[in-house]
Amino acid sequence: MTTPPPSEAYHFIKTRTASVPRLGLILGSGLGGLASKIENRIEIPYREIPGFQSTHAVGHQGCLIFGSLEGVSLVVMAGRFHRYEGYSTQQVTFPVEVMKLLGIEELVITNASGGINPQLKVGDIIILRDHINWLGGVLSPSRKMNAQEEWNLATHRHASDFYSRKLSEQALGIARQNDLPVFPGTYLGTLGPTYETRSEYRMMKVMGADVVGMSSIPEALMGKQLGIDPLVLSIVTNVATPDQQNIADHDEVLLVGQKTSVFVEILIRNLLQSL
């Protein structure tokens, strides 16, 4: 299945809104609450946008929201596409291409994850410093990349440069000022949709992962390729306890997401103010 060029989606969106968003925000499982806070909003359901898929995951809504927050114009993805839903990497990352065309200069991605690092607690927020990509699939933009864009991924050999230094430092500063449980860490992206076995959790700890989830890396890679250093916030919605059995529950994930979304809102509002 070939995706139509992102320009088609861009032109369609332009018939609905003249908004030029400064920042793109992708909201993960259970974090949709923040979407309702957007002012002067215009919502466009994914199913109407050429090239967008429809989301099936519970806790994901499935529309683009244009508007502003703290005086900054933004575009919000309420609901995202996952590899475990059967979508290709290209389909998952297509909205990032469209958001870039719409003019975003910053990309903030949120997700829900499982805590591997035993120091983590439910409700903690990890700012990605690095990731381990076990999602498979090849990043394949729907249009040909120019020389600079080709270079963007190739030159960042130092993981510390992959994610936005500027936004990470700011977010950590905001967390200190507001006493929020925010820490830098490494995110392991897996295909899912099964949760991990106890042995897989033990493996992931040995590998050096702090949190594990099923999303975000493809979108972050696409942002990076298009010249935007992303910021990824990962909310720890359950913690791995491989040595004592504990049943993971998606409803619990959603509930923690809702509670912690207050922290995420504080972080994002303050970040927007400082832009």
């Binding site: 099936h56 059967g86 899912g192 949760y195 042995s199 040995v206």
Partner: protein
């Protein structure tokens, strides 16, 4: 993807026509372990070709038929010949039989495989009951739109293999005076065997044995709520610092020698399951 439900019904209908008894246990036989079906009082054997939507087997030493009958007086279905990712089959197809067994009313799934031993305390020819698993196949049978009629979107995997059956299997082994270890099975896609560096890696991440099957079937069994007990036959030792080239003849010979032990254990499990209210 929602057509999976109908495919399961189609396959069930065909099997029920030929074998109207409700099976209590389903058995999946791994490479070189097909002889177990000789223990079964066969009622009917159905070629996979005759079962709608079933995959067709290609691997050497796998036959490709469903043996239906009684083992130790308990109604069973046994898959003689199973399917692997390395053969090019999609995981959804490979795991369809598991869903069919669940729909037929099976209460316990027994999966067996031939594997390489990573834990240096193991020996070629030993059996291992699978306590837990690691999926390094790079794929998952549940990718795609989830059909909520078949199972949850995000299955929990904290106990993929029924722990009480792990304990009971070990006890069975002791009663039969057999070596049965307990350990972690890691599945890789194959079909090449691992390099020495890969064996070191697999050991480091916590695996005791490595194979190219079983994990997809178990994930789907968890998804559809079917209790699973897994038994590995260690057909060669994969010790990276004393690695010899793999000898297929020798591996098959070891599998052949271990087969009677596996048969005895599986027979014991089926017998216990028969006297037991599993669910």
């Amino acid at each position: 993807m929602l057509d999976l439900y109908d495919k399961i019904q189609d396959a069930c209908r065909t099997i029920r026509e030929r074998f109207p008894i409700k099976p209590k246990v389903a058995i999946i036989l791994g490479t070189g372990l097909g002889d177990l079906t000789e223990e079964i009082d066969v009622e009917v054997t159905i070629d996979y070709e005759d079962i709608p939507h079933f995959p067709k087997s290609t691997a050497t030493s796998h036959r490709g038929r469903l043996v239906c009958g009684h083992l130790a007086g308990v109604p069973v279905v046994a898959m003689e010949g199973r399917f692997h990712l390395y053969e090019g089959y999609p995981l959804k197809l490979i795991t369809l039989p598991v869903r069919v067994f669940k729909e037929l009313g099976v209460e316990l799934l027994v999966v067996s495989n031939a594997c390489g031993g990573l834990n240096p305390y193991f020996n070629a020819g030993d059996l291992m009951v699978i306590e837990d698993q690691i999926n390094l196949l790079g794929d998952n049978p549940l990718i795609g739109i989830n059909d909520d009629r078949l199972g949850p979107r995000f299955p929990d995997m904290c106990e993929p293999y029924d722990q009480s059956w792990v304990d009971r299997t070990i006890k069975l082994g002791r009663d039969l005076d057999l070596t049965i270890h307990k350990g972690v099975f890691v599945a890789v896609a194959g079909p090449n065997l691992e390099t020495r560096a890969e064996y070191r890696f697999l050991r480091t991440i916590g695996a005791d044995v490595v194979g190219m099957s079983t994990v997809p079937e178990t994930i789907v069994a968890v998804h559809c709520g079917l209790k699973t007990v897994g038994i590995s036959v260690i057909t060669d030792m994969c010790l990276p610092d004393a690695l010899k080239p793999a000898n297929v003849q020798e591996i098959i010979a070891v599998a052949g020698r271990a087969a009677p032990n596996l048969q005895a254990v599986v027979r014991g499990i089926v017998q216990e399951a028969g006297t037991d209210r599993i669910a």
